[in-house]
């Protein structure tokens, strides 16, 4: 259940940014969560509900961008969508790959007032 630690880190980042902008309310928060980022979304939603209570994010609308996995095959240089870490290259069948996208876990933007 590392998702709660993740939510608390998001609260900290939002709090710091709000202070920097001298804002007292965060209306919206946009978060990028890659599909290969080790975040279980049900656990994340559950942790979010509890974790943002009595914080600056309590009333904020949350927008989550799920970024799909993408890899480059190091054998045949083919780029392809990667759903699971154990997927093989669909062209040559090898597992020698570099993950290009899908590991993201970042606070993208806030709307403050």
């Amino acid at each position: 259940m590392h998702e709660l630690s993740i939510v608390m880190s998001i609260v900290d980042i939002a709090q710091q940014q709000a202070e920097k902008e001298q804002a007292s309310i965060i209306d919206e928060i946009e978060i990028d969560i890659g599909c290969l980022s080790s975040i279980e979304m049900n656990a994340f939603e559950f942790a979010w509900k509890q974790g943002v209570k009595e914080t600056i994010l309590e009333k904020a609308e949350k927008k989550i961008n799920r970024i799909k996995g993408r890899a480059k095959c190091l054998d045949c240089e083919n780029f392809f969508p990667l759903e699971n870490l154990y997927d093989a290259c669909p062209v040559c069948g090898e597992h020698f790959l570099d993950i290009i996208e899908g590991k993201e876990l970042r606070v993208k933007s806030l709307v403050v007032s």
């Binding site: 259940m1 590392h2 630690s5 993740i6 880190s9 998001i10 900290d12 980042i13 940014q17 902008e21 804002a23 209306d27 978060i31 080790s38 699971n84 870490l85 154990y86 093989a88 597992h95 020698f96 790959l97 876990l105 970042r106 606070v107 993208k108 933007s109 806030l110 709307v111 403050v112 007032s113």
Partner: protein, 248 residues
């Protein structure tokens, strides 16, 4: 609609570009581009730990596995067998008790126990405080035995040089596929309890193939901490890493 950012008259944003502040959504609201990694704080402290290790030429290894794979037994054997050759220190992570630290202490090695309480993983902040208390020796090897959990510790960099994942033959040979993140983020995989292979339906070829599917660079060593078989390979790997960090 605003020609610069695409926000409409009632204040709703329809599109925006990075690095552009929307001070005029309405008179009060403002879009702030943050672009900050959620694990930023943890990663910063991990880099700090890494700097400390490099400055003191300490080889730090993060040992991860599910509970019961034999991490502590592997450490006990290693610390006892190599104590005349290398200096060691150990950080033990568990939710509760000092049982593991007591076992390590009995080998005569410097050890600090971190109890995470309800926490499911160690983070770089906890390790930083443990280091302040224990002050490991220059040119030593530091083992950080993480909380037994094959999921959560995968995300948290502690500042280690290498991550070692341990799996025992009493577990399923599909474990790398079921818990891919840990195998993906490790550099060495130790398959432990090989003395039990005749008694369990564990296919060692299959587990290796599965682990390589997740991480083609993963180095794999088979050991039995009970019979001692294969431990030489692990010790050789360890000594090679110590030598490599000395030459840098």
């Amino acid at each position: 609609m605003c020609a610069t950012c695409g926000c409409d008259a009632d204040g709703k944003v329809t599109l925006h570009e990075p690095g552009h502040h929307h001070d005029h959504i309405d008179h009060h609201k403002k879009v702030v581009d943050v672009e900050k990694d959620v694990l930023h704080e943890n990663n910063l402290l991990a880099e700090r730990n890494r700097g400390y290790f490099e400055a003191k030429n300490i080889l730090a290894l993060n040992l991860v596995s599910s509970p019961g794979s034999g991490k502590t037994t592997l450490l006990e054997r290693t610390l006892t067998d190599l104590k005349s050759e290398l200096d060691f220190a150990v950080i033990e992570g568990d939710q509760q008790t000092t049982n593991d630290a007591d076992r390590i202490h009995a080998t005569g090695t410097k050890v600090v126990q971190i109890n995470t309480g309800k926490g499911c993983h160690l983070d770089s902040h906890m390790v930083m405080h443990a280091l302040q208390g224990m002050k490991p020796k220059q040119n030593s090897v530091l083992f950080i035995e993480n909380v037994g959990n094959l999921v959560c510790p995968a995300m948290f960099d502690l500042g280690e040089k290498e991550r070692v994942v341990i799996i025992s033959v009493t577990e399923g040979d599909d474990k790398p596929l079921k818990y891919p993140d840990m195998f993906h983020s490790s550099t060495l995989c130790i398959i432990n309890k090989t003395d039990l292979l005749p008694y369990v339906p564990f296919d060692i070829k299959k587990v290796k193939a599965n682990a390589k599917k997740i991480n083609h660079q993963l180095h794999i060593i088979e050991v039995s901490c009970t019979s001692g078989e294969g431990l030489e390979l692990w010790y050789d790997w360890l000594k090679t890493k110590v030598l490599a960090s000395e030459t840098v």
